[in-house]
């Protein structure tokens, strides 16, 4: 139980750090990678809350599809934010 709570808290704070870097990063490609990192820590959160189905879907969609979608969209615009 205590291990689960520690993993939960660490993943939660890690996700906050990733969100902060994703928002402040000027290189959009790096920001997409940080966003994927945030999704990974959310997937860990969902798994500690005993929801493996949601964790699996979340990983496939938000790390795989969503990041790929962002990269495709960035390739159509400029890479660096002003």
């Amino acid at each position: 139980m205590i291990v689960t709570l520690i993993v939960f808290t660490v993943a939660l704070i890690l996700s906050l750090v990733f969100i902060y870097y994703a928002i402040t990063e000027k290189d959009l490609l790096k920001a997409a990678v940080f966003s994927a990192g945030q999704s990974v820590s959310y997937a860990i959160l969902l798994h500690t809350m005993a929801a493996p189905d949601i964790a699996m879907t979340y990983l496939a969609v938000s790390v795989g599809l969503y990041s790929a979608l962002l990269v495709f969209v960035i390739s159509k615009t400029e890479r660096y934010e002003e």
Binding site: I13, L16, Y20, P52, D53, M56, T57, L59, A60, V61, G64, L65, A68, L69, F72, V73, K76
Partner: protein
């Protein structure tokens, strides 16, 4: 330490302490009626749906009609995207080259692994966590890997185009609808499961229609997202030429 970092740390400590105080003071627990509902599903899924996986049982049996409508909504979104980004002329991208042979070999192995896991997730969806949607999304990722590494042209040469993938998705969705509607012929309700479909085939547990739904949803989601990846990876210049040509 800059003022910004200190501000962020104060914010973090504040948010965490507010969350802890709320948890201790209000003690948020699920209402008793919801817990009873959860217990009902855990106790009765094996009897009602003959599937040990309660989540798949809820998604495709207890509230199966919802999920079918969800699939239709996603289909309409993907078709709408294709309608906007369609091109009249044949896309030819001979100038683009892929990555080096190291990346190609690595991608080949990874694509094989992802595809295997995707099939396992989808086809065991009625036994273990997973199902058609996660499996299909995982399979669509292989296409998104192949496009940058092997170029879009190599896929188009193989006859994989977004129009064809949309056709596959349409067929899979039709099959899914048929699985849902077939019980009506025998006078049962639509989306009936065990009264119409057998729970075992050749000694293997397929949990009635759950396995069929998972299979068709897998095909539909995989081909739909792959189609999105293909029409998004057509470069902007093609569209610009298209607009110029139209004027």
């Amino acid at each position: 330490m800059s003022r910004r970092t200190i501000g962020l740390i104060v914010l973090l400590v504040g948010v965490v302490s507010i969350a802890l105080t709320t948890f201790i003071v209000f003690n948020p627990e699920a209402p008793k009626s919801v817990r009873e509902l959860g217990k009902y599903y855990i106790a009765n899924t094996t009897r009602d749906v003959s599937s040990p996986e309660a989540v798949t049982a809820i998604v495709w049996d207890y509230r199966g009609l919802d999920t079918i409508y969800e699939t239709v909504v996603l289909y309409m979104a993907i078709v709408g995207g294709l309608a906007i980004s369609t091109t009249t002329r044949k896309v030819s991208l001979k100038t683009r080259t892929g990555l080096t042979s190291i990346a190609r070999t690595g991608t080949r192995i990874i694509v094989l692994l992802i595809a295997t896991i995707a099939f396992a997730i989808a086809l065991h969806g009625h036994l273990t966590p997973g199902g058609g949607f996660p499996g299909g999304s995982a399979l669509a990722i292989t296409v998104m890997l192949i496009v940058p590494v092997y170029t879009l042209q190599s896929l188009l040469d193989q006859g994989v185009s977004s129009t064809r993938l949309i056709a596959v998705r349409g067929l899979a969705l039709t099959a899914l609808g048929l699985v849902a509607i077939l019980p009506v012929i025998k006078g049962l309700e639509a989306v009936t499961n065990l009264k119409f479909y057998p729970s075992h085939v050749a000694g293997m547990l397929i949990s009635g229609s759950l396995w069929l739904y998972n299979l068709f949803e897998f095909l539909a989601v995989a081909s739909g997202f792959a189609a999105v990846a293909l029409y998004l990876s057509i470069p902007e210049e093609v569209y610009r030429e298209e607009i110029k040509g139209g004027e």
